[in-house]
């Protein structure tokens, strides 16, 4: 009975301590102490990882190893060649477009799509391999063959973050080809709505939606007449102030590997 009481007492004391340490760790109060402790444990974990991985790897035949390395190098060459062909085709298609002028575009590769799990979630932002060193600025539009993809929200020297138009934090003005003005709002999972359209304006399923243009004096922002998507359904209630339509982009965001940044208009 005494032991059981001791266990209860020790449990509550240690739990309290753990919760306190967890709280301080979360708030960054113990940052220095934790980094010292981490460097100490890393000193042990690295050699143990090497040791165990060597222990579980089987000895390889020298000839097989050489062939495997040669195979990897050949695969890399083929992949590079295929990438160059695709890039060339993509550049060719892009520069055939009339709007916006090709001179103002900067080609970029998608190098990251945080929290995107193929088949489970849709991408909501991209990280691209151009940054401030390439004259990319926050607010620049990102496009693919006249389709608006998103907007630059953060930049570092060599990388930039693009918030896609389907991201719930994305908002910008747009209109249908027929002239109904509204606001495009991202809803996540590849969905968007064109909201705040006057009831008197005509909005129908199948209407194409384009940007109205939101350029700053330095050329940053969203150019006009970029394609946003197509109306798939209309929600019109006579008692409401506005009508809205569900919007679908013509671009499959999960398969994009290359985009173009509009770095300014001439």
């Amino acid at each position: 009975m005494k032991v059981r009481e001791n266990i209860g007492f020790i449990f509550f004391i240690l739990l309290l301590l753990s919760v306190l340490i967890f709280f301080f760790s979360k708030t960054g109060f113990l940052k220095n102490q934790i980094s010292i402790f981490n460097s100490f444990t890393a000193f042990f974990s690295k050699p143990s990882y090497n040791f165990f991985s060597r222990l579980t790897s089987f000895p390889e035949n020298g000839q097989v190893k050489k062939l495997q390395e040669e195979n990897l190098s050949l695969i890399k060459t083929i992949a590079n060649q295929e990438r160059l062909i695709a890039e060339n085709k993509s550049l060719h298609d892009q520069f055939l477009q009339q709007n916006p002028k090709s001179l103002n575009l900067l080609s970029a590769n998608v190098v990251g799509a945080p929290r995107f799990l193929p088949g489970i979630t849709w991408p909501e932002s991209f990280v691209i391999d151009v940054g401030e060193k390439d004259k990319v600025k926050v607010g620049n539009a990102v496009i693919l063959r006249d389709n608006l993809i998103g907007k630059i929200t953060e930049t570092s020297d060599f990388l930039s973050q693009v918030i896609l138009i389907t991201n719930p934090s994305s908002r910008f003005a747009a209109k249908t080809i027929q002239g109904a003005l509204g606001v495009v709002k991202g809803e996540g999972n590849q969905d968007m709505v064109l909201d705040n359209i006057l009831l008197s304006d005509s909005l129908e399923k199948g209407n194409f939606v384009v940007t109205t243009g939101d350029l700053a004096l330095d050329g940053s922002g969203i150019p006009s007449d970029l394609i946003v998507g197509k109306i798939t359904s209309v929600d019109k209630n006579p008692s409401s102030l506005f009508q809205q339509g569900k919007l679908e982009s013509l671009v499959n965001f999960s398969k994009i590997s290359e985009v173009f940044v509009v770095v300014g208009l001439k």
Binding site: V3, R4, N6, I7, G8, I10, F11, L14, L15, L17, S18, V19, L20, I21, F22, F23, F24, S25, K26, L30, I34, F37, N38, F40, T41, F44, S45, K46, S48, Y49, F52, S53
Partner: protein, 134 residues
């Protein structure tokens, strides 16, 4: 005791650097089944910090989980015979399931099932002889 500590330290380093099976959790489960004494909780407290450091988690998270899990096991001692195989398997499955779920692992059920199967071996050598003696 020193031998036990060295083994436990090795188990933590192995789990933290190479294999994603919660060896430390299983080790602590067997310790609490064999020795229901306060020092097991102290060991759980410190081992949690080591694992947090190796996994770069928020400090204290693993300790909180270990302590609650072990305390829950000791509470069940009042109601059930905890030194039998079915309890060990169920406890290790539930413990592993919540451990993996809370710390953001994939294939949680498969891993929990696998872990609850591998406890059979240590059970045979550590718990069963004592149960037979009683």
């Amino acid at each position: 005791m020193i031998f036990l500590s060295i083994i436990f330290l090795l188990v933590i380093i192995l789990e933290g650097s190479f294999i994603s099976i919660p060896f430390a959790l299983l080790f602590l489960l067997f310790l609490v089944l064999k020795n229901r004494e306060p020092w097991v909780f102290v060991l759980a407290f410190f081992s949690g910090f080591l694992l947090d450091s190796l996994y770069l988690r928020s400090f204290g998270a693993t300790s909180i989980f270990f302590l609650i899990f072990l305390f829950a096991v000791t509470l069940y001692e009042k109601k059930f015979e905890i030194e039998n195989l079915s309890f060990v398997i169920i406890a290790s499955f539930i413990g592993t399931f919540f451990y993996f779920s809370l710390f953001g692992n994939f294939f949680v059920i498969q891993k929990a099932l696998f872990t609850s199967l591998i406890v059979l071996l240590p059970y045979k050598f550590l718990i069963k002889p004592r149960a037979n003696m009683n």
